[in-house]
């Protein structure tokens, strides 16, 4: 290799390193770089303090294998796992389907639709605790409003809803759907509004029916958003504590407990916080894949909202 060739090779290697460094520093130089760090530092500190530290502390608290041995020996644990799965799968999917249908309804024009929307949003705007406690009393088999209405109108009492595992679980899921349905309806409504109207107009010119427009424009364009919403809500539902705790209280006979309420019971009723954390940690094998899929779905793609 000639001297010139050697010099060129060294030059290329410097240029490569400089480019890598340039890319690593986000294309910033000197004072700009220092300013960027200064602006980012508070966020990094907050992220470390309120995201990394709690997660690491939680993992440390639930890291003793003996906790899981104790957990799996509790007969209520398996019941809670099954309930959690039912709660998440049914609660999220029924809600999202309803939200999708309702978003179509609220997409209509008219002042009364807007007025109805305001009323429809109220359950979501109401604080969770009084809302769920009201439902608990509303469903009370003896003195609740629902059975009193049934008696006044039809002369018979409904069942004691919270006294049976399956009706109790259905009530918890129903309450969860009722509380969060408006939020997801609004999100999907925003998605519908983002679909370019030109597409519908072009389809109309081509003689497409409403069903065709729905099947070939709305559905494909909304599919990604719908899936992201489902995944996100599954993550929320896995950790949801309020509905079960305040509606059925986990009863009867702890048959409607979910992992979140069982964890709270261990942590604060039995005063075994590590076992409580381990209970919630045991949902991680489901939670982590959900988050990974969610992240992958959030990548930008063409032809999707």
């Amino acid at each position: 290799m000639s001297v010139t060739q050697q010099a060129l090779a060294v030059g290329r290697s410097f240029a490569g390193a400089r480019a890598r460094r340039h890319a690593w520093f986000g294309g910033l130089h000197g004072a700009d770089y220092i300013w960027a760090i200064a602006f980012a530092l508070p966020y990094i500190a907050i992220f470390l303090a309120f995201v990394v530290y709690p997660i690491a502390f939680g993992i440390w608290m639930g890291s003793d294998p003996a906790l899981y041995e104790q957990l799996f020996s509790d007969p209520r644990y398996l019941t809670s796992v099954l309930n959690t799965l039912l709660y998440v799968v049914i609660g999220v999917n029924v809600k999202m389907f309803l939200a999708f249908l309702l978003s179509g309804f609220f997409f209509r024009k008219g002042w009364w639709v807007k007025g109805l929307m305001v009323i429809f949003i109220l359950p979501w705007a109401t604080p969770a605790l009084p809302a769920y406690m009201s439902i608990h009393w509303f469903l009370n088999g003896q003195w609740g409003m629902l059975n009193n209405i049934l008696y006044e109108l039809f002369g018979f009492d409904g069942p004691v809803y919270l006294n049976d595992r399956w009706t109790g679980l259905a009530c918890n899921i129903g309450a969860y759907i009722w509380k969060t349905l408006p939020f997801w309806t609004v999100i999907l409504l925003a998605g519908r509004m983002a679909v370019p109207q030109d597409l519908y107009e072009a389809a109309a010119v081509d003689g497409a029916s409403r069903m065709h427009k729905f099947a070939h424009i709305t559905l494909p364009l909304m599919a990604n958003l719908y899936l992201v919403c489902v995944l996100l809500d599954m993550v929320f539902a896995l950790g949801d504590f309020n509905s079960t705790y305040f509606v059925s209280g986990g009863g009867p006979a702890m048959s409607t407990e979910v992992l979140a309420t069982l964890g709270i019971r261990y942590a604060f009723t039995v005063a075994l916080p590590r076992l409580g954390v381990a209970t919630v940690m045991s949902a991680l094998p489901v939670l982590i894949p959900l988050v990974i899929i969610l992240m992958r779905r959030l990548r930008p793609s063409e032809g999707q909202l």
Binding site: D74, N163, S248, G249, A253, T269, V270, A271, L272
Partner: protein, 423 residues
């Protein structure tokens, strides 16, 4: 920093602030305190004990779910030196409710400075008893007899238009956290099974007398339920459901801890002074006097507290009989003093115009009492938290199990829990 338990009525909070302010004046020490609701205090304290970032003092009405486990784990400061000057004056039950086993030191010691104690009386709508054609003074003395007599009120009251009224607010709940366990413990005592756990922390499920008492208890309670004199929803009641239902006269009687049931209605003069009656259990089912369970409240100091000496000094001040008495009187007697002589010396306790106070004080202080079993071993707290006894009732009512089988199932699980906590 002191974390203090919010009371059930505003008067209790005012009384607590008064003690703190009086101490600041008397000692010259600074006391930074905050008052918070029981459940919040419970959760905050458990979190603090777990993380190690603890307050100097926690003052709690019923710390029996926290102290046994944390004393066992050596996470609480031994306060024997604070209690010692008053030890001879304290009730035996308050002493037992304040001493816990530490597995590091391998001995029991004082981990709670007891100030107050509370019992569980019957709360009865006397006007409904009369309306049903029954008489308060004819209520039998024995435990089962009380329930059996009062359940008769349901039919006549319903025939008078109270369509949804139930006679007995029996909390055979599996939701908890405490009411169902407390009820079961009293049924056990009434049936001669009070030795299910002894003060050495040992479980005696192998004692035939204990097993028989448990079977009788489960049988009696589930029979009441099946007869339809207990609201069906009682199986799923939470802590407040029985109070709310009782206050609305949806059932005629309730068996619930302290006088909070009555004091919550103190502004309704007719209800408080005329209609509501408070009744202390008298005899067990064998006719001998019944000891009811008493829980103690007070202050404890987490290990790692920065100002242990000030915390101890505050509790020394609080434990003075005069200060203790003034504080509990100001709280309208929902909790009674841990020093029995006080209720004998101060006419407030037994000669007040509050009709609920005398029977309650008699039960909680003057009658023979037992400490709650949680103090004997953390394992009992876990058995309660798993709602084993409520589960036994549910097994009989919902799963058609025989009471003996339901009890054996609960005992089996209880044995497993106790096996992990060897004293």
């Amino acid at each position: 920093m002191c974390w203090l338990n919010q009371g059930f009525i505003p008067e209790e909070d005012a009384a607590m602030r008064q003690v703190a302010e009086d101490y600041i004046k008397a000692s010259g020490n600074k006391l930074d305190y905050s008052i918070m609701p029981f459940m919040a205090l419970n959760q905050k304290t458990i979190s603090a004990l777990t993380s190690g970032d603890v307050p100097d003092l926690v003052f709690m009405d019923a710390p029996s779910s926290i102290i046994p486990q944390n004393a066992w784990d050596d996470k609480i400061v031994d306060v024997s030196d604070v209690v010692a000057p008053y030890e001879s004056q304290l009730s035996e039950t308050a002493k037992l409710c304040s001493t816990f086993y530490n597995k590091a030191t391998k001995k029991r010691g004082y981990y709670l400075c007891p100030i107050k104690q509370g019992a569980t009386p019957f709360h009865i709508w006397g006007d409904l008893v009369e309306k049903a054609g029954l008489k308060m003074e004819e209520i039998p003395k024995d435990w089962d007899g009380i329930w059996t007599y009062l359940k008769q009120a349901q039919a006549p009251l319903r025939s008078k238009g109270m369509r949804r009224l139930y006679a007995c607010g029996l909390q055979i709940t599996t939701v908890g956290p405490n009411d169902g366990n407390n009820l079961f413990a009293h049924f056990m005592i009434a049936n001669g099974g009070e030795n299910i756990v002894t003060s050495d922390g040992k479980l005696h499920t192998d004692d035939p007398k204990v097993r028989e008492a448990a079977i009788k208890s489960v049988e009696f309670m589930t029979n009441l339920y099946k007869e339809g004199v207990v609201p069906p929803e009682a199986l799923s009641w939470n802590d407040a459901d029985d109070n709310n239902g009782y206050h609305e006269k949806l059932f005629m009687m309730d068996f619930d801890g302290t006088l909070s049931t009555e004091l919550a209605m103190i502004k309704n003069k007719k209800a408080f002074y005329e209609e509501m009656k408070t009744l202390a259990p008298v005899n067990k089912n064998d006719g001998t006097p019944m000891k009811t369970q008493v829980n103690a409240g007070g202050g404890y100091i987490p290990k790692g507290a920065k100002n242990v000496e000030v915390a101890k000094d505050f509790m020394k001040y609080f434990m003075q009989p005069k200060v203790m008495n003034a504080n509990l009187k100001a709280g309208l007697g929902r909790w009674v003093p841990a020093i029995p002589q006080l209720v004998k010396d101060d006419p407030f306790w037994l000669s007040t115009d509050m009709p609920c106070l005398k029977p309650y004080v008699t039960e909680a202080v003057l009658n023979p009492t037992l400490p709650v079993f949680e103090g004997f071993t953390p394992a009992w707290g876990q058995a309660n938290a798993e709602q084993l006894w409520g589960q036994a009732h549910a097994d009989v009512i919902k799963n058609g199990m025989k009471p003996a089988d339901a009890v054996d199932k609960a005992f089996k699980r209880c044995n497993e829990i106790f096996a992990k906590v060897a004293m």
